[in-house]
Amino acid sequence: MNSAQIIIQIIVALVAVACAIPGTFLVLRKMSLISDAISHSILLGIVIGFFIVEDTASPLLIVLAALAGIVTVILVEYIQKTGLVKEDTAIGLVFPALFSIGVILISKNANDVHLDIDSVMVGDLSLAPFDILQIGCIEGVTDSCINLGPKAIWVIGTILVITLILLFMFFKELKVSTFDAGLAAALGFSPLIMHYGLMTVSSITIVGAFDAVGPILVVALMIAPAATAYLFTKDLKKMLLLSCFFGVFAAISGYWLAHILDASISGSMTTVLAILFLLVYEPIITSILVSLTVGTSTIFYQYYELLVANETGIEHMLLGEKIQTVFAEFVFLDYVYILIIATVLTAFLIYILPKRGVIYGYYKVRQQKTEIMLLVFLLHIRNHSEESERHVKHLNEHINWQRLRSKSIVELAQKNNMITIDSSIISLTKKGEEFTEKAIDYIITNKDTEIEEMKDDFFLFRG
């Protein structure tokens, strides 16, 4: 790993974090697609800025681009407010129009300069480390500059710091206005300021990340980590942290994937993000697929290296031929290896994926079963005042449980202070009675949210 590689990785990681934070709020506020719109229409701002200053490096470009993003948001809001079309249609109308103007402006006027659409669309990171910010330069004197490192780090770093400061300052406000706009307004936070503040931050972030990863992949970096995190948790803080983590993970591993495949960094970052999302969304199938791919490509790569080293001319073949040649080298044992690698990896992936994985699911079902049994048991005790019905031994025959199971249930209830056992006669404690009352209430009214809270209130130990 040389220093350029490290710098690129730092940049992508910073971009990922800077995108993930506003992205989380956008996802929660159901405005994900605004980021798509902004990222397209800032092209117009960049193009206009370019015509004014004729310099791709000018900070004016960034300012104008961010402005274009905000103009998009305002336009969308305005169109929506007229009530002529729905919000999504408004978004879908505004950004292609602005984007078209940008593209036309480029192709009409900028043919002779190096501002071509492809580079704007895809973004290029590999040159970022060599674009160095220098200050204190004295005209004509070499080596008089103070080298501050790559410019991209400074740009995205500043944005990230500002975002973080704003996040910490206004965390409470953001939280309230995201989840309950009405309450926020009643408490005196202007929802409008919150909205436009968030939009401004998003635009600036998108503009900052634009250079590095291109418009559409900015959208991926904003939405995908947040969406993946949202599947994991419903706690805002955890969600923010997780989405930052996913972003950074995807950024770094995406970089290495790009390195191996010799393809665009941004493209492979998104691919990693896609795999991450799929792992959470459809854990079993994806785990198997990913593991198989990893297994196959490991073996594949070994043979490929071998063939290249033997100078069979494989480098100049078409991709299809390459694949055929390499697969022809496979022997039976290789497939066994692939299967073994895949199985181990699958098992590992399924195991570490919480909440959705099979193992977790089995655990959850067992836990719920125990809780229901406990409830039945408590109800039974409550309904019977006569001692014969409340005898420990009697339970086995009456509720028809096996001995082991009834013993564990009784123990659980005892641990949670719901019953007391006095010479093999079970009686409910006050807490147990309260719990049973509430449980009956729940069964009658059947409101789903209540029982979870109730369980949290009463259980110290779970089944």
Binding site: V27, K30, M31, S32, L33, S35, D36, H40, I79, T82, L84, V85, K86, D88, T89, I91, G92, L93, P96, A97, F99, S100, I101, V103, I104, S107, K108, D118, V122, G214, I216, L217, V219, A220, M222, I223, A224, A226, A227, Y230, L231, A258, L261, D262, A263, S264, S266, G267, M269, T270, T271, L273, A274, F277, Y281, E315, H316, M317, L318, G320
Partner: protein
């Protein structure tokens, strides 16, 4: 010619997308089609447009079902699902495209026309393909018109009537995907959504009837296709996609402003008219209040006393005179019998309105 048919079919099917609040589906699918194109090229190694379109179609469909699955199975909202599909598929497509570019294969150049579209690359057989698909789509829309319509406005009712809503849903979505994929070549990935949306959004402003809306949208789409291609050919050096989109966008803008029922201009005019009307009625009511206290209703009063009253203006007084409710002689005004009756009824009307 190709763009005209394309515009028409886009407008037609776009109307359904807009009314189903799936406007951005087009955006998502057109992006999702990119990896399909890339994979088709990777596998076959030739740039046969039909094969590439097939790849695009398959990955577009996968994208659609992905969106559906995410919204149904998880608590993620549809906007997130759309954004996810769009960006993740496109990113993967980009990865593949850059990967292809590094391959030692000369025929890869030109794959990126799919990003922005170039109508000039349309061959005669492509136009035929578009025409055939458009014909089938038209036929399907005619045959299933009733089902589409009812599904659009009341899906639950449709279900209770025993229609297979899933089937109709998939049918319509599939056709939208096919159209998008066909359009990729002409207007490109990024602008395809506008192609689908803009004519429909414009048509929506002019009518409340689905049939007329679909027809209008088709006309608008065809129009922007023809004009856009025309401009881009004359000017040369312009991608077709952006020009078409801009033409369509101007149609939308025009419709927003000038449509007779919903347009902003006429709404403003109506607003002003109503306000003036209310001003006039207020003046009349005030006069009525004064005239009531006199035995002779046409007893003249000085115009000056009206000045203290808010909402009075020379214009509204003049209007009252024109309506023959009030007579003016010099600096004095007096109420006519007709004006008095109207004002009395006006009062009643307001009270009954209040009570309702």
């Amino acid at each position: 010619m190709g763009t005209a048919i394309l515009g028409a079919i886009c407008g037609m099917l776009g109307s359904f997308a807009v009314l189903r609040k799936q406007s951005l589906l087009g955006d998502a699918i057109s992006h999702a089609a990119l990896p399909g194109i890339a994979i088709a090229f990777l596998i076959t190694g030739v740039k046969d447009s039909n094969l590439l379109l097939l790849g695009a179609l398959i990955s577009g469909l996968i994208g659609t079902f992905w969106i559906r699955g995410i919204t149904q199975k998880t608590h993620l909202k549809s906007d997130t699902a759309l954004g996810l599909t769009l960006s993740l598929f496109f990113g993967f497509g980009m990865l593949l495209l850059t990967f292809i570019q590094k391959q030692p294969n000369a025929s890869q150049a030109g794959l990126d026309t799919y990003l922005f579209g170039q109508a000039a690359t349309l061959l005669e057989k492509d136009v035929w393909l578009i025409a055939i698909v458009a014909g089938i789509a038209l036929l399907i829309v005619f045959v299933f018109w009733k089902e589409f319509k009812i599904l659009l406005f009341d899906p639950e009712y449709t279900k209770t009537l025993g229609f297979n809503t899933r089937f109709i849903d998939i049918l319509i979505t599939t056709f939208i995907v096919i159209t998008i994929v066909l359009g990729l070549q002409t207007v490109g990935v990024i602008l395809m959504s506008a192609m689908l949306l803009a004519p429909a959004a414009a048509a929506r402003q002019w009518t409340n009837s689905l049939g007329i809306m679909v027809l209008l949208a088709a006309i608008f789409g065809a129009f922007s296709g023809v004009v856009g291609t025309g401009i881009s050919t004359i000017e040369g050096n312009l991608s077709t996609g952006p020009v078409i989109v801009l033409v369509a966008a101007s149609i939308v803008l025009f419709s927003f402003i000038f449509s007779p029922n919903r347009g902003l201009l006429f709404r403003e005019i109506r607003f002003r008219k109503n306000r003036n009307n209310i001003k006039m009625q207020k003046t009349l009511a005030f006069m009525y209040g004064i005239a009531k206290t006199h035995e002779n209703i046409s007893h003249p009063h000085a115009i000056k006393i009206l000045n203290g009253f808010q909402g009075f203006s020379k214009k509204s007084l003049q209007e009252l005179v024109d309506l023959n409710y009030v007579k003016i002689s010099g600096q004095q005004w007096s109420m006519t019998q007709e004006g008095f009756n109207t004002a009395a009824n006006l009062y009643d009307q307001q009270i009954t309105n209040l009570h309702e």
